[in-house]
Symmetry: C2
Subunit: 156 residues, 2 copies
DNA sequence: TCCGATTTGATTGAGTACAACTCAACTGTA
DNA sequence: TACAGTTGAGTTGTACTCAATCAAATCGGA
């Protein structure tokens, strides 16, 4: 494995702007903020939007399956799904085969939101100013970075 | 301004994994998670670590100045700084020139944490598996993406 | 000097995050 | 068929995030 040859040694002061983690954190917040106004018109928060994407993608998924798709655990997902159900966008149905499992289904009202969410997404993606090629390259690099870090997580 | 020529039109279903925002969100969470265990040994959360970086960088900064450095508003920063003060890492001193302003100073105890935090940072950066060149390129690309999106924010 | 506008930090409320825990339901094995 | 161990969803407690709002202090023009 290749090691990072740092310009700045580990024991010397570091600036916030030089941190890769801050660059990621701030860029992520900026993109989330870009979604905020558009999603608010659909009465969705950003994590709720992500969750609806996963539900639209495949109906009847279990809570655990949704959690791995959107990278959230049951502690976050349970109340979030409760709010989506109260808003009438999804239904929760306990499995008959395995009573521990709850399946999530979109309602008609939830289905109606999909094209409107797609329009919001299109506006935000245009605002990134990235070409289609750049878009794909950045995305795949971020996925790669993520899986490298996740692989290293256990022995950190 | 260049427009994104999307492979997938705006009105057609999109998958979670194809979203740039999700790639950013998930990568940011992974890197934050990589910091978690090491920072926990210093009794710091990740936003607290970011804030301490900014305080170590320059002593006596105002709350608003810190907020712009770490991209947090007073609603987040006020209780966060209260906890850092309770932990004995910083002091809050109200300005004599302008009584609205509060300056943040590191304590000796807070200063002692700096090299230990630097060691955590070094371990996490190594875990990214990025070369020094790649590290700098990814970082600058993320900064660029952020400022493009922030510029576009007002007319979204 | 007076007074309206602005700035600064703090507070509140709704909604994530995440670790630690609970509990019912399921599984494999003897 | 027992039953120890595991799994899935939910709950609790602490902390972060952001919009909206507030009070005090400052500033600036008449």
């Amino acid at each position: 494995m290749e090691q990072v040859a740092l310009a700045r040694p580990a024991t010397v002061p570091a600036k916030v702007d030089e941190q890769l983690c801050f660059a990621l954190y701030a860029a992520s917040k900026a993109l989330t903020a870009a979604y905020r106004r558009g999603l608010a018109e659909l009465s969705l928060t950003y994590p709720q939007y992500l969750t609806m994407l996963a539900v639209w993608e495949r109906d009847g998924r279990s809570v655990a399956d949704l959690g791995s798709a959107v990278d959230l655990d049951s502690g976050t997902l349970s109340p979030l799904l409760r709010r989506l159900e109260q808003a009438g966008l999804i239904r929760r149905v306990r499995s008959t085969h395995d009573e521990r499992v709850v399946h999530i289904f979109v309602t008609d009202r939830g289905r109606e939101l999909e094209p409107r969410a797609a329009a919001v997404r299109a506006r935000v993606e245009a605002a990134t100013g990235l070409s289609a090629d750049e878009f794909v390259q950045v995305r795949s690099m971020l996925h790669r970075l993520r899986s490298t870090v996740l692989d290293a997580l256990p022995h950190l």
